[in-house]
Amino acid sequence: MDFQVIGKVLPRKDGIAKVCGKEPFASDIVVPHMLYAVTLRSEHAHAEILKIDTSEAESMGAVCITPTEVPDFTYNERTVSIPEKTYCDRKVLPRRVRHVGEAIAAVAAETEELAFRAMQAIKVEYNVLPSVLDPEEAMKPEAESLYDEILLGKQQLKVKHNVACERNIVIGDPEAGFAAADYIVERDYDLPRIYHHQMETKTVVCQPEANGGITVWTTTQTIHNVRQLLGQIFELPLSKINVKKLSIGGSFGSSIQMNSMIPICVALALKARCPVKLVSSREDDIHDHVKFPARIKLKVGVTKDAKIVAADMRVLVDIGAHQINSYPLLGCMSGWYASLYKWQDFRFDGTAVYTNKVPGCAMQGYGNPEVNFAVESHMDVIANECGFDPIEFRLKNYVGIGDEFWGQGPTVKSIIKSCGVEEMLAVGAEKIGWSERQSSQAKTGRYRKGVGIARGFHTSGTGGPKPGEVIDYSSATIKINEDGTVDVLSPVMDLGGGTGEATVKVVAELLKVPYDKVELAIVDTRTTGYDVNTHATRGVYCGCGAALHVAKQVKTKLLEFASRILEENPDDLDLSYEPEEKKTIIHVKRFKQKQISIGEVAKLAQIYSWGTIAVSDSYRQRNCPPCFVAHFIEVEVDTWTGIVKVPRAILLADSGTPINPDMLEGQLIGSLSRGLGYAAYESTENDLETGKLLCGGFITDNKIPTSCEMPLMDNIEVYFAHTYEPTGPFGAKGIGEAALNSVAAAYANAIYNAIGIRFYHTPITPERILQALEGGASVEN
């Protein structure tokens, strides 16, 4: 397809501000007369708070809040699911702490130093309770319970054996399926808690306004959900709450919710009656959120001719101290599993368990990297045990065009209409030299190379033909200015991946306006319609979908006004761009001589008092197409030290029409680094006695890959499949989360190919590799 701006590499709209250090992030916001806040965080994993004495802190001139001084409101910070499916267990400040590092009081003062010293002067009396730190132990009857009751929507719900929520799904008759299988392969996988490690720590600035309302600047993926939840907690009319849209210094899911520090800061500002700024230290931030871990038991039945006939997956998720979004997580995990291969008859049992640890929250992939690691490792295990070629085995069973895709658990599904899986596997195999791949037995010597493949996907948004458990729609406002330039007001947060540019491009493409004449306005909740969240890889597919929907209406309006001026029928008019004159014209179809520029139309509309050419509307996508990926990774294992290098990686993506090819590549390579981190380096562990984080909150002992751990530039190849998604804006789907999902499995499969050792949990560290090598090549880990 021939596009004017879609698919072209153009400079980011926020690029200049960002390279000059002038792009404001929440942590850069300064309001006159603001106080600085710090939180007091628990040293205990589980304890009742008997008394908090703030008198000394207050005598130092600090403003303090404690659990008794904040609204007693039970909430869930993530409000993406419909209210009846939202489990609530959290308070603004708790009377019982449930993990080390949970905020229990907060202090604001004129300087951060003073606030910090005042915080240290607060005295807390605890009644320390036994803590529960292992998810399996947590479910035993004798285990201490974290909660007696929580809320499901507005309903009270008893919590038994620390089970936060469950999801059991059976499709067909798995027992009969297994009975018909020639081989049954069963394994256990274990994926750790890891820290998001977004570069900007969570921040909030809250300014009380003269009208009794508040203005909030914060790190979030959703300004509208922040506003609505603050309205509920503080019983403020939404018209008096304004949340500003800002750039965010990375997120990866860590701000999918209204972060728990936001209402704390608001409560402080309301009490102090002046603006308050609360910036998390890195150690606060590490104690605030981790990626959901998962223990996965997977059993798959196959026939001799490599056809899958049944599957059974049991998932146990240690969600930590609060439910941020574990019920939808389990649903999504069932969906990622259901949509990878045609299991025929299958079962999914998911259980989320409370423990006295940092709460788990969404992180890029939302359960998909965990499920993908299990399934894509398992596909290799089966291929190996049954003598199938791993690629052919996948191609024989994958879920592709015409099949049903579960975009967000069992209630959000649509039929797949575009799919690049076959193309990507063929191209990847060719590039990596799959046919020359040797088995690990053929490899000797200190350094051994191996090649691994894994494939995956993510949904593009959470839309579907009918509304499910998840809210999904977006909004946009588009306005043609009187000189022919265009303003776009979008509530969709750009987490850095280029969603903003994509929105501009889609509008520019439809209205035939050059990219540099379309600008993204600085907006907030007051000036935009609702958008649910930049999550679920929905920025381009849903966010740009809404922008396209509105742009089409703007076009209609433009043509209508032009038809009055040109005295023609609007249906006979069309838009086009005149590169020589650098302007967008409306002309009579097949008779370009009769034309007028859109700037002139807008200007005349003003002069004739017809009004501004602007449209504001919302739009829901009615599909959730999967964006597919495949990873071919080469590793080199030093069998003497266990150190692994990645000499080469081939990253393949089917994201429909690539709207921002450079950003798409950036997403894939960025995800490779996070995937390698997940596979080889990262794990945020707790001391099993005290519940404290082993890293103590410092990134010194929470390593992520640096520039030196990545393959060299020329050794990373990126390939885009040639697909067109009929339901997407100009054929586009998402990419964000998909890009990560199969990295870790491809890595583990490559290690197996290099040294013949299968690792079932990550991170696959040099220590574990060496230990396994010592134990003999057949050891399973």
Partner: protein, 164 residues
């Protein structure tokens, strides 16, 4: 704690500042001088978000007491270029898609600039080594390395062979 007077040249301008002994350079730049391009990422020297140039060499503002830089020269990202007149390396970052969320970007740019001053034509390994204290969680580093490499090429190529 008594405040002291220090004289520092910041982005080419001589400044007289009163600072407490425990004031970190990072907070003086951000809070007192409103130079928000220098970021807090970890506070313990591990991430490079707070990178500045101290007498032309990279240094971490989160681990420097402001009192100790009396008489020295500091360049922050705001002194590297401005929107009306970007530094070529800043242009290269935009051109190569080296900016995603942008939070690591100021530190990366200053490190890149210091590297090119020291070694006008670094190879890829040298660039990666030099950047290993600047963490980026978004990009996977490739675009950043590419942006620096391409700028190095431009600087070191003679005008006739720019087409390379």
């Amino acid at each position: 704690m008594e405040k002291r007077l220090i004289k520092v040249t910041i982005n080419g301008k001589l400044r007289e500042l009163f600072v407490k002994p425990n004031d970190l350079l990072l907070n003086v730049l951000r809070n007192d001088l409103n130079l928000m391009g220098t970021k807090y990422g970890c506070g313990i020297g591990e991430c490079g978000a707070c990178t500045v140039l101290l007498d032309g060499q990279t240094a971490l503002a989160c681990l420097i007491l402001a009192v100790t830089v009396d008489g020295q020269e500091i360049t922050t990202i705001e002194g590297m270029g401005d929107p009306a007149q970007l530094h070529p390396l800043q242009e290269s970052f935009i051109e190569h898609g080296a900016v995603q969320c942008g939070f690591c970007t100021p530190g990366m740019l200053l490190a890149g600039e210091a590297l090119l001053k020291e070694n006008p034509n670094p190879n890829e390994e040298e660039i990666r080594e030099y950047l290993r204290g600047n963490l980026c969680r978004c990009t996977g580093y490739a675009a950043i390395v590419k942006a620096i490499k391409s700028e190095a090429k431009c600087q070191s190529a003679d005008p006739g062979t720019l087409s390379e």
